[in-house]
Symmetry: C2
Subunit: 185 residues, 2 copies
DNA sequence: CACTTATATGCAATTAGTTGCATATTTATA
DNA sequence: TATAAATATGCAACTAATTGCATATAAGTG
């Protein structure tokens, strides 16, 4: 189970509350591991029981108390072991592709509309990724060094989005014009 | 929930038993929707209760009875409606990327070994996809026409695998030689 | 002043998927 | 002739993730 390890990775860099982690999942690591706040709170609770993390309650005037979690020694050990282990590529489950696979002539318009929707979504993500990339190249070599591995995963995200857009646009073209591909992919 | 609809797509083409469907999930649709036999049997049971499918028991000499499922009219309606609906792109959850993201200098060798393992896996899948693609181009135009939409999804599969391999090889090179990317992705 | 957004945490119920096991026969292989 | 692989279906327990709800305050906006 990798939500646990994704959380350990984040806490290993910097302690934080469930709320903080939820925000951080929206950025960096969230490009390839998504989690909702419910999942994160539940997981932190379990991980506290397993002694992988510990927390201090910070009282705040008015607002609810913040539970600031930190990784424990045991958590660091577990993380180091996990990183060394082999992973299977994740299973692919993509409903859009089932739809294209199953499309009948009468579905043509709906499929094209759906391809267009997905093009917009992926273009948006691509643009946001490319902005982060620009920041990386703008940074001085010290910061680049520190962020190298993160940036390598960002490159993967950029290519993933770009590849989607290319396929979506080509497929839209072929369906719209009732054409067949003439060359291999 | 799309396992349900993936099953409906398959049964809409041809009736079959849970076992048949398990085999079929290993091919075509299985490139983008994976399901184990346990999931399929459980799902078929539910779908029978929902009247989306029906089955006839075929006695076989010696072997256990085959339950041959077929899509019902209601199932066909549900499928037609589902195809017209919008889908969100699936959430990405890829543990390998967490590992690269989190890698420390002492993890270098383990990460490179892991990248190599994944290169082999994706190369194998790519080769198998490309064989199916070759079959498509060998077929006459009538068969091509019938298989057009399936082939479009296969093209996506091919590019997905190729893109992975490119990223994995580039990343391996950059880590092995302690280099930084010099150009954007 | 009302409304929205952000901060901050959590429970309960449900759905979806995985893991491990169990059974029983036929056919192909060493 | 023993063994493995393919055929065929299923239960039970568990883990992971989603959905919907609930609470409470502060800060910013129209």
């Amino acid at each position: 189970m990798s939500l646990k390890h994704a959380i350990l990775v984040l806490l290993d860099r910097e302690p934080g509350s469930g709320y903080d982690l939820t925000q951080r999942f929206g950025k960096g690591i969230g490009h390839f591991w998504q989690a909702s706040h419910q999942q994160i709170y539940q997981q932190l609770k379990k991980m506290d029981e397993e002694k992988l993390v510990s927390f201090k309650t910070e009282a705040q005037s008015g607002k609810p108390d913040r539970k600031v979690y930190a990784i424990t020694n045991q958590g660091q050990k577990a993380l180091a072991i996990w990183i060394q282990q082999a992973e299977k590529p994740p299973v692919v489950r993509d409903a859009l592709l089932i739809k294209v696979f199953a499309a009948k002539p009468e579905d043509k318009d709906a499929i094209i509309a759906e391809l267009n929707r997905h093009i917009l979504i992926h273009e948006k993500t691509l643009t946001s990724h490319q902005q982060l990339e620009a920041d990386f190249f703008k940074a001085d070599s010290k910061l680049q060094q520190a962020a190298k591995f993160q940036y390598l995963t960002l490159r993967r995200g950029i290519r993933y989005e770009r590849e989607w857009i290319e396929w979506l646009e080509e497929t839209r073209h072929l369906i719209e014009n009732n054409e067949f591909p003439t060359t291999p992919a």
